[in-house]
Amino acid sequence: MNEYEIIIGLEIHVQLQTETKIFCGCKNDYEAGPNTNSCPVCLGMPGALPVLNRKAVELACRFILAVGGEINTRSIFARKNYFYPDLPKGYQISQHERPLGKGGVIRIESGEGNSEIMLQGIHLEEDAGKSFHLADSSNIDFNRCGTPLLEIVTMPVIRSAQEAYLFLHRIRQIVQYLEISSGDMEKGALRCDANVSLRREGQHEYGIRTELKNMNSIRGVEKALSYEIERQISLLEQGGFVLQETRLWDESKGRTATMRTKEESPDYRYFPEPDLQPLELSGAWLEDIMQGLPELPHQKIDRFVREYQIPPYDAGVLTSTRQLADYFEETAGLCGKPKQASNWIMTEIMKIMKDAKTAPEELNIPPRNLAELINSIENGTISGKIAKDIVVEMAASGKTPGEIIGARGLEQITDKKVIEQAVEQVLSENAENLKRYFDGQQQLFGYFVGQVMMKTEGKANPHLVNKILKDKLNGR
């Protein structure tokens, strides 16, 4: 079998979280009752004209600047002409020849190391309405029509379905970090079309590509690409060839099928939108946006590894959201033990959040309480095992570790005399096992430890228990 190089390019649409739509004053909320957020402009009534929402431009610029793209300080809107019932004007206001942004890089991390995905064009456009079909009628809801969209097109530099998956994940993370979109792919706030082609190793020119549509989740994009890559390989291996066409991903059947061939693909007849002036942006305005940009996920990962000496994997998990990263940093700062903070957050805290479906900032455990808990273990006040019970109670009650330890008397027993007493008691109650121990069953040591812990309700310091037990046994 031949070796193939996989060439993938993605086209992503991100709905921008503005108060109002991109070209009219309607609320940008398409979950309201059908057609309640609509007006002559977004319904494409005759004579109505678009007026650009500056906020949408600002959010788009945040993204472009954050990923290191270049902003065209003079960009042009264009009409993309096609007929569809949910497209009221018969054209979509988009950008074509002089888009708002170009270039930029998205870094992703995988098992094989980091890679950089270069972006091609980034532009602003308007979303269409939504058609839905009932038994005897077709209906359209225009609430979504005019929602600002950011279109991001990558260079054809993605080399596997897995890489596409990681890339989309990172895009979602970035738009959330930048607070420009919910990034929710299931709700359509993030959408992705893909194109994929193969070329034999060493071959210079690209192969024929297919375009994939209708993927509704990040996982779906990965699955559709995997399927399509396999389909193309088997076609080529059988001596066939790939047709240039658009294919629809069928999630339930797990396969792609022809939607339209190249010949059937529409001619969008782009031309400059005469109803809008070229968009001119000043350097000072862009500088302000630049100043307000947050640290991006990959920058945080690098800094966490460097500053807190935690493994890259941990840093990746802790930076999955800005809120979680903040939570970690605050906790680590307060307790001064980043590795312990990281361990606690990645295990117990994330489990609590997952079970309760809460975000870090809504959690009943503020960073200072978690820091206190970590310190209580480190200074020997409680054992790690008890701490795991305490943290559950902290989450339920919002109490501090100190309050819980005090109320329940959970301080660790470090008094040697008390532990010695317990050890003596255990040994005298277990004459049988003691005999077997001395006969060579050394593993019973652990059993004795467990018995001592039980006697002390788990509060005895395990180090001391070990040491005292060893001494006592050696002394016999």
Partner: protein, 482 residues
């Protein structure tokens, strides 16, 4: 006193003095328009409720001792491609035959604020596409001077209504000459403002980068009054220009001295001898008024028709996509699927000329033809702008004929679209450059048909155009009744 010979200013004054009430005026004009319309067919829908409401407002204002608006009690006819809330707006098309808009154009709001009496919606060439008012779903309109002739277009109904005395004022819209040419053919005044001077919000788009709403009136003064009401920056139109508007009535006063250019390319082949003579006479009179006359050159005039029709039709092909039968307007019922709905609705909904232009425009924007047509035309447009820039370095205003001929006969050019397009030769250049231009009457031919003179000005210098037009109007002493 005959209401129909009164100017807008006279009507307003008479109401304020209490000689007539606004409802006297409204009722008289509505009644008259309805009676005349069977012959003229220049009104598609009548504005009874608008007129009654305005008359009521004016009475209340007067009773309360408040000053009524600038157009108080003045009847006006509105081209039917301007959106009027709750009043049918058809664009003279079958596809919008029953369209009743839920909103107002910005200019309509301005008129209502100034207490104008909207008499009705004027007939026109469908969607503004035509130069003769023969391309209307609601039938053609005769020239009021001789019914054998066309009134011009596309604002033919507006021009006919004003020339016939159905209203002293009208609003038209001008894409490549649609206000100026019918004004010229009907012997009235019509101003195409600078692109961006008047809001396009609520003007049903034809060629968005050309379209301007323009005032039409029997006199330059009335034209200036109406212009001063509609010329405003509008945040709802992104192409509306934001600058301080001068007082256009003040601008009429005095006799400013201008340097006037006469483009040699306009006074050449293709022009009717009588038109040429009338325009030359007017130029002489201007010289007599102390203006300095220079010959200038606008070398790319010949390319303007091709550039104009390519760009305007390209924009139109896209602008008219919204008429798809989905949300409003006519929808064919004999349909099985989506494609059929589009095809049948648009085939039956649009007239032949509109479909011709949609096809031409679609072609010009198509992959493989875009560079050769749309893009090339856009480049020519820049060159024509440069021509004007150069000319306006030397002169303040430019005088040309409005049209190479007087009105042509009904049916004369209906089967010759190219011939019809070529008659726009003198008006499209200013449209390509976005410049303001007025047409004022300057004579009649031997058939008694009016001849129009065009004055083109610098960007946003309607004040200069109006001053010269006002002084020439008095000098020429042109009167329809003569």
């Amino acid at each position: 006193m005959e209401f129909e010979s009164m100017s807008a200013a006279q009507i307003r004054a008479s109401i304020i003095k209490g000689e007539f009430t606004a409802s006297d005026i409204a009722e008289y004009f509505l009644k008259q328009a309805k009676a005349e319309n069977s012959r003229l067919n220049c009104i598609i829908s009548f504005g009874d409720s608008y007129a009654a409401r305005a008359a009521e407002n004016i009475s209340q204002k007067i009773a309360a001792g408040l000053a009524p608006g600038k157009l108080a009690g003045v009847p006006i006819v509105i081209k039917d491609n301007l959106i009027t809330k709750d009043l049918r707006t058809t664009c003279a098309s079958h596809i919008l035959e029953d369209f009743i808009p839920p909103y107002n154009a910005t200019v309509i709001e301005s008129l209502l604020k100034q207490d104008a009496i909207i008499i009705g919606k004027a007939n026109m060439d469908e969607f503004g596409m035509g130069s003769s008012n023969e391309h209307s779903y609601f039938g053609r309109v005769p020239n009021p001077i001789d019914p054998e002739y066309v009134p011009g277009g596309s604002s033919g109904g507006s021009a006919c209504a004003v020339a016939s005395g159905l209203a002293p004022l009208a609003l038209g819209s001008d894409t490549g000459g649609s206000v100026r040419q019918p004004a010229s053919f009907c012997g009235i005044v019509g101003l195409k403002p600078s692109y961006g001077a008047v809001s396009r919000y609520g003007l049903v788009a034809f060629g968005s980068s050309f379209d301007q709403i323009g005032p039409m009136a029997r006199t330059v003064e009335d034209c200036a009054i109406l212009f001063s009401v509609i010329c405003k920056h509008d945040p709802r139109d992104s192409t509306s220009a934001n600058y301080v508007r001068p007082d256009y009535l003040e601008a009429l006063k005095g006799r400013k001295k201008f340097s006037i250019g006469i483009p040699r390319e306009y006074m050449a082949e293709g022009i009717d001898g009588e038109v040429l003579k009338a325009v030359q006479d007017a130029i002489e009179k201007a010289e007599g008024q102390g203006h300095e006359i220079t010959e200038i050159s606008l070398p790319h005039t010949k390319q303007s028709i091709a550039a104009y029709y390519t760009i305007a039709n390209s924009e139109a092909s896209s602008n008219l996509s919204r008429f798809d039968g989905v949300r409003y307007g006519y929808r064919s019922t004999a349909i099985d699927d989506l494609a059929e709905m589009y095809i049948r609705t648009r085939s039956a909904g649009f007239g032949a000329e509109v479909k011709r232009r949609i096809m031409l425009g679609t072609y010009s924007l198509s992959t493989g033809y875009y560079d050769e047509y749309y893009l090339k035309a856009a480049k020519v447009r820049e060159i024509i702008r440069d021509d004007f820039d150069k000319a306006f370095n030397e002169v303040d205003l430019i005088i040309t004929p409005t049209s190479p001929t007087t009105a042509f006969k009904l049916g004369e050019k209906i089967d010759n679209p190219l011939g019809m397009y070529l008659s726009d030769i003198y008006t499209v250049s200013a449209s390509l450059a976005g410049l303001p231009a007025i047409s004022i009457p300057c004579g009649k031919d031997n058939k008694g048909l009016p001849i129009g003179l065009q004055i083109i000005g610098k960007m946003f210098r309607e004040d200069e155009i109006l001053n010269l037009a006002y002084n020439l109007e008095r000098e020429i002493g042109y009167n329809l009744k003569q």
